[in-house]
């Protein structure tokens, strides 16, 4: 049932509405709306009950184990939410003068400094509002750097084939062409292909390390040298920063620019698809190009830097200062964790991943890269199972939902057939991992003995498998009941 089905003409949530409306008579009649928008007319209880019930149709970290590879679905501490939502923080207008927000800005400045430390970068700007937004900022800075030097022939970005789709899409948005390079048999960047790919046209290389294949690029020092020797810059996609937090710093690996996904590594909520936060960190040579605003500390007085402070900045990315409330949650998380906690993140994320990987291998699952350590995640390939039983990674994932586990990432990275990318994160207990292993084993057994059962899954969720083809062919993107008056009157 949709909220619109609860609607009755004339019903209102009276207590929430302001008193009688003011006059609009001074506005030109032709600019005023002729028919009111057909929003629902419902009571407060209708809204509370409807949306509470909708929430109960979701899987979430708070209710289920969520081993979604590459997404770092760790526990989102409740204190981060409640303290970021203190009424004074919520009430502050973003265009208020800096002196009215010193408590807020102090928190932002300290987060900025902590992010510099954990990444080993010379500067951090927290303007970007998501990982992809941070990628855009990063590649735009690479371009601004080359352009500022008059080195305008560099128009190509190199991207490994295992990369997230956002990497090539971002390069295109920055006016670059994309050159893909292959992965070698152990999951690393193919160095010979990289050497062949670089040249005077190379603006940079975008790299995720550990890669989306769940392994650390052991040859990072050589990769770094090849790209830098060719005059290109090195971009670090921070999607997998959770694997190395407090262990290795991108700055120490020679990266020139990085983005972080605070909704992964710093445990801000995913919120059903956002908001995230994608701060960027830069090496010394990219400092002048950072997006604004960033926070400056002038003898204990904090203020936002503007175009005047950074005349070569790539510019602004949002109307205000990014997803400030998300940054607050990340700051609070960092304070709760502290230095020791920060070092522990990668340790226990890696412990959990390797434990899960070894136990699944023992249970007869095939690993994509059996000779490698897992980073914070690893890949199981179900190719043999698919060949033998017809049960695909998708079927397997859907059956896991019936067992009460969110599915791992499926069909990504694209180059491993029938893959499940599994990331347990550090906040899950051994008992949870053991339960998941039991479910994996049980489903494997089902696939081998009753494949049809697995192929028809899920059975216990609010809906069974959905018709995606119908969704795309017979587009129904907004509710239009038969009696609905079309938009143009």
């Amino acid at each position: 049932m949709l909220i619109f089905d609860h609607s009755r003409p004339g019903r209102t949530a009276a207590a929430q509405l302001p008193a009688a409306g003011g006059s609009l008579d001074d506005l030109p009649a032709n600019l005023r709306r002729r028919a009111p928008p057909a929003l629902p007319e419902v009571s407060e209880l209708d809204v509370v009950r409807h949306y509470t019930r909708l929430s109960q149709l979701n899987f979430s970290i708070d209710t289920q184990f969520y081993p979604l590879g590459s997404c770092t679905m760790k526990y989102n501490p409740r204190a981060c939410n409640s303290l970021a939502m203190l009424p004074q923080f919520l009430a502050r207008h973003p265009a208020s003068p800096d002196e009215t927000g010193q408590g807020f800005l102090a928190s932002m400045f300290e987060l900025q400094e902590m992010l510099k430390d954990v990444t080993g970068m010379a500067g951090v700007s927290m303007a970007p509002m998501a990982g992809a937004h941070g990628e855009f900022a990063g590649v735009a800075m690479i371009r601004a750097y080359h352009d500022a030097r008059g080195d305008t022939a560099r128009r190509e970005i190199i991207v490994p084939d295992a990369a997230h789709g956002t990497n090539p899409a971002t390069a295109t948005m920055c006016g670059y062409t994309v050159k893909e390079i292959p992965t070698d048999a152990t999951g690393g960047v193919d160095l010979a292909a990289l050497k062949a790919a670089v040249g005077p046209q190379t603006a940079g290389l975008m790299l995720t390390n550990p890669s989306t294949l769940g392994v650390f690029e052991k040859t990072i020092a050589e990769i770094q040298k090849i790209v830098h020797d060719a005059g290109g810059l090195l971009y670090y996609d921070g999607a997998n920063l959770n694997a190395i937090l407090g262990k290795v710093r991108p700055g120490d690996m020679g990266f020139d620019v990085i983005h972080m996904n605070l909704h992964k590594t710093f445990s801000t909520p995913h919120g059903g698809g956002g908001p995230g936060a994608g701060p960027v960190g830069v090496s010394k040579r990219l400092l002048p190009f950072m997006p604004i605003p960033l926070v400056l500390n002038e003898n204990g007085a904090y203020r936002l830097a503007t175009e005047t402070d950074l005349p070569q900045s790539i510019g602004r990315m949002s109307a205000n200062m990014g997803n400030a409330g998300v940054l607050m949650r990340a700051y609070i998380y960092a304070r709760l964790l502290g230095r020791e906690g920060m070092h522990r993140v990668a340790e226990y994320a890696t412990l959990n991943a390797n434990y899960l990987m070894v136990r699944l291998r023992e249970a007869g699952f095939d690993l994509a890269f059996p000779t490698r350590r897992a980073s914070h995640e690893f890949i199981v390939t179900l190719k043999k199972l698919k060949d033998a039983t017809g049960v695909s990674a998708m079927d397997f994932a859907k059956r896991l939902l019936d067992y009460g586990y969110h599915a791992p990432t499926t069909y990504f990275p694209l180059l491993v057939p029938e893959c499940l990318l599994i990331e347990p994160t550090e906040t899950e207990s051994r008992e949870t991992l053991d339960g998941f292993i039991e479910a994996m084993v049980a489903i494997k057994h089902e696939a081998e003995t009753n494949a049809a059962l697995v192929k028809g899954a899920p059975y216990s969720l609010p809906v069974r498998r959905l018709d995606d083809v119908k969704a795309a062919r017979e587009l129904d993107l907004a509710y239009k009941p038969a009696e609905f008056i079309p938009s143009r009157v």
Binding site: T52, F59, K247, P269, M321, V463
Partner: protein
């Protein structure tokens, strides 16, 4: 250990299963030379109690203000139910709804959101939201250029928020897109249409514009269409309860509508998170960036919801995607959907008309003070530009000393307006608040007239 449940016994059992002597051994593929020493700038961890105390102190330091700043972000009352439900773990800690069967709550909510946005804007389709209003405008500019095919020029009036124009520039400048500024009429504050032969992809039409002034959207829409360009509406969702929907502008209606979703239930919170909305005519749906949810059926024929038209997106199309965007601002959209449902058509209209009436009343009170005048003669919605015969910055500072944030100094962005402030009074302001502001303004201005600061003495 904060947020790590492992006991010592767990660790030794797990290491035993792995066959590793220590956790450190699990990092043996990382070259030793790269390993990080102790972090320097991260302080020791604090218990929740101590962090709570710290944050409460910082919040108190920032305090509460009587706010009359708008400029794209508006202080509206947010019903208590909204964020209580929005922060339920099932919404708060869920991922992007790729596994549709396990995400029907979020998916249905987005479908309802899309429906509400199409009804507010009078357009056919809506996406699941973008980062914020400014980035939504940038995406609309890119979309207009993709749709137009021959021109890479887009006309952007100076009456569009100056920071929005900068964000658009940051976003599109590397793709060979030219942004052309349009002047405004100094008497009315409305955009003047140039003698343009055509050959541009889109015209941005702000309603109300940055000055709070209402543009002649019908004429602008028709003009853009006559020139073969797309009409891009940049609108405030609250005002759409009472102002004509973009889908009804001119003879054919605007093609794309975008704007800042913050007024629909998002707290101001120093800048975010908010969300940008985007709606368009059906013809352009395949050019639209961002997530889109569609209604379909499951294996048993039961209705359900799923992400659709994913062939536009980066995880499928990679370098050929419509945008690199992956996220929407899901959680804020969760709040906005409930806000629109709770307020309904009547409530939203009251919020809009009360904000308008309060702003008009405040402008009347302030312009009754000598040397305070309205910059433009035309009707405004819930913001107004006032010119002061005094230093705007100093006056605002003096008001601040009385606990009042009196508006935004826009003299730097629009030097031709002289000492000008943009002032907004939403439905949250009482007549007492308006009187208080006017009294303080009068007191400050007269005091400064009688005893000007040393720097201004002849």
């Amino acid at each position: 250990m904060p947020f790590i449940p492992h006991t010592e016994e767990d660790v030794s059992t797990m290491l035993g299963a792995i066959g590793a002597a220590s956790i450190e051994n699990l990092f043996d593929e990382i070259p030793a030379a790269l390993k990080t020493g102790k972090l320097k700038d991260v302080p020791d961890g604090l218990p929740e109690m101590a962090v709570a105390r710290l944050m409460q102190e910082r919040a108190s330091q920032d305090g509460f203000w009587s706010n009359f700043i708008g400029a794209g972000v508006y202080e509206h009352h947010i019903p208590a139910a909204i964020w209580q439900i929005t922060t339920r773990g099932e919404f708060y800690s869920a991922y992007t709804p790729y596994q549709a069967e396990a995400s029907q709550g979020t998916l249905q909510l987005i479908y309802e959101y899309q429906t509400m946005m199409t009804r507010l804007t009078g357009l056919d389709v809506s996406n699941a939201s973008l980062y914020d209003g400014a980035s939504a405008l940038a995406e609309a500019v890119l979309m207009a250029v993709r749709s137009h095919k021959t021109s890479r020029r887009v006309l952007v009036p100076k009456t569009v928020h100056p920071i929005y124009r900068r964000v658009v520039d940051t976003t599109v400048k590397n793709q060979g897109i030219e942004l052309v500024e349009l002047d405004y009429d100094p008497a009315t504050g409305q955009t003047m249409l140039p003698a343009e032969p055509g050959g541009f992809a889109g015209l941005v039409i702000p309603q109300p514009n940055f000055f709070g002034v209402l543009e002649d959207v019908h004429a602008m829409t028709d003009w853009a269409h006559d020139k073969g360009a797309l009409a891009i509406a940049l609108v405030n969702p609250t005002t759409l309860a009472v102002l004509e929907a973009p889908g009804q502008w001119g003879a054919k209606g605007a093609d794309i509508a975008v704007g800042e979703g913050q007024p629909l239930g998002a707290p101001m919170a120093s800048g975010g998170p908010y969300f940008g909305f985007m709606c368009c005519r059906q013809d352009f749906v395949r050019q639209m960036p961002g997530r889109i949810v569609g209604r379909t059926v499951d294996l048993d024929g039961k209705p359900g919801f799923a992400l659709t038209l994913q062939a536009r997106e980066q995880h499928i199309r990679r370098s050929k995607a419509t945008s690199n965007i992956c996220t929407n601002q899901g959680l804020v959209v969760t709040a906005a959907t409930q806000y629109m449902a709770l307020l309904g058509p009547q409530g939203l209209a009251k919020v809009a008309s009360n904000s308008h009436a309060n702003t008009v009343a405040l402008a009347d009170k302030l312009t009754a003070i000598p040397n305070v005048t309205r910059a433009f003669a035309s009707p405004c919605f819930h913001e107004v530009v006032l010119q002061l015969n005094d230093n705007a910055k100093d006056v605002l500072r003096a008001l601040r000393a009385q606990g009042i944030l009196g508006g935004l100094d826009i003299s730097g962005w629009y030097p031709e307006l002289g000492q000008a402030i943009l002032v907004c009074a939403t439905e949250t302001k009482t007549s007492g608040d308006l009187d208080q502001y006017a009294q303080q303004m009068e007191r400050i201005l007269s005091k400064r007239r009688e005893a000007p600061p040393c720097a201004y003495k002849n």
